[in-house]
């Protein structure tokens, strides 16, 4: 499943995009209300979103043309 997503550019960028968008309200609600789990989830979402594109390049490097 993860391999399939990482092999399709639009799929992995869409996952990254959704995680970026989800992370901001989670961090906001978590930090303003002192809900550690929610803000922690937001940080995880943000970190995973940021890691996906470079990780994809390492795991599936573009074939030389």
């Amino acid at each position: 499943m993860i391999k399939k997503i990482l092999q399709n550019r639009l799929s992995y960028l869409s996952v990254s995009f959704i995680l970026f968008l989800a992370s901001l309200p989670l961090i906001s609600f978590g930090t303003t209300n002192d809900w550690r789990i929610v803000s922690g989830l937001g940080m995880v979402a943000l970190s995973v979103a940021a890691v996906i594109p470079p990780l994809q390049r390492i795991l599936f490097p573009a074939k030389p043309r």
Partner: protein, 354 residues
């Protein structure tokens, strides 16, 4: 320049490329100068009215000016001496493959007219502008203090988005109106039949083009916010300010923009990453912030010419893969020249404005 062409002409590929470039150079200069003047003078005239429209309106004027220019005897006939490059062949433009568009020229231009009217109305009609500016949305964040004492106060709405006054709202309204008119008139169906291609739906087309463009921008915006709020920008600015005299920094300011565009292959990303740093540096050195920001902005645009991703994309689009080195050798001297000229202009402006 002659020596360069002589050396390049020793290879068949070089001769072909150079013949093309020489012909383009001699034919294009008047056009380039006229269009550049319209854009430059247009920006100077439009900025005091509304900076948001300062790029859009002169660009529209330049686009309109292309029509009378195309009637000029110099450009009425195809230029002679230009060897066909792969990008100029019919099959390189698959989207335009021979099909007659379903709408006339006016119909195709209408969305740009609507966009102009809406953008001007939303910017220049003050009551409408004030009304559109009211609704806003932003997330709340608590106060943050770093270990070195850099503090950011709490915000009920951090950097709120004015969703109806934002230029994106005007573009969205124009896109929706255009889509509705085109759909009602059956343009999408007609184009599908005429081009004999399986076109993606509007929504999937939107996702396909918006998501890949949005991810790096969001990532850079978050990175820039972290750099700003953690005090990294202030620290870097103080470090550079400690070693660079004010006018040396003013001269080099556009170089930081060029570096940002080279690293990220995006002028926008360069502005996002380094604008805050440049403002901090300008404050630290007592230089006019607007001038230094203008230098950063110009540098971002100049750096695009040598940004690796843009060079690779340009080479790929024009069918000269593997010629990236030759492209960089061509663009680097011009980039350096633009850097030096922008640096001199920045110093003159900084001296004048002070």
């Amino acid at each position: 320049m002659d020596d360069f062409y002589t050396a390049r002409a020793r290879t068949s590929a070089g001769a072909s490329l150079d013949g093309f470039l020489t012909a383009v150079h001699s034919a294009a200069w008047p056009l380039v100068l006229i269009i550049a003047t319209i854009q430059g003078v247009g920006q100077i005239l439009t900025v005091p009215i509304d900076p948001i429209l300062a790029a859009f309106l002169p660009a529209t004027a330049a686009l309109i000016a292309l029509y009378p220019l195309s009637r000029w005897s110099r450009y009425r006939e195809p230029a002679q001496g230009i060897t066909d490059r792969p990008a100029m062949r019919e099959d390189a433009h698959l989207d335009e493959a021979g099909a007659e568009p379903p709408m006339g020229t006016l119909g195709a231009l209408a969305p740009y007219g609507l966009l102009t009217v809406l953008a001007l109305g939303a910017s220049l009609i003050e009551p409408l502008r004030a009304w559109l500016n009211q609704p806003m949305f932003g997330f709340a964040f608590p106060a943050v203090v770093t270990g070195m004492g850099i503090s950011t106060p709490a915000a009920e709405q951090y950097s709120p988005l004015h969703m109806f006054a934002h230029p994106g709202a005007t573009i969205t309204v124009t896109a929706l109106a255009t889509w509705s008119v085109f759909y009602v008139n059956g343009y999408f169906t007609q184009w599908k039949l005429r081009s004999d291609k399986n076109l993606p739906g509007v929504l999937s087309g939107l996702i396909g083009s918006a998501v890949p463009a949005s991810v790096p921008i969001i990532a850079f915006l978050i990175l820039a916010s972290i750099m700003k709020l953690s005090g990294q920008n202030t620290m870097l600015a103080l470090g550079i300010a400690a070693i660079a005299p004010a006018y040396v920094f003013a001269f080099l300011a556009n170089g930081i923009g060029i570096l940002g565009a080279f690293i990220t292959s995006s002028s926008t990303s360069s502005q996002v990453l380094f604008s805050e740093l440049q403002v901090n540096l300008a404050k630290a050195k007592g230089l006019p912030e607007a001038t230094i920001l203008a230098a950063q902005s110009a540098g971002g645009a100049i750096g695009n010419a040598i940004a690796p991703a843009n060079v690779v994309m340009g080479a790929s689009t024009t069918g000269i893969n593997g010629q990236e080195g030759a492209i960089l050798r061509k663009t680097l001297p011009w980039t350096l020249m633009a850097f030096v000229l922008t640096g001199i202009a920045t110093v003159i402006l900084a001296l004048t404005v002070r």
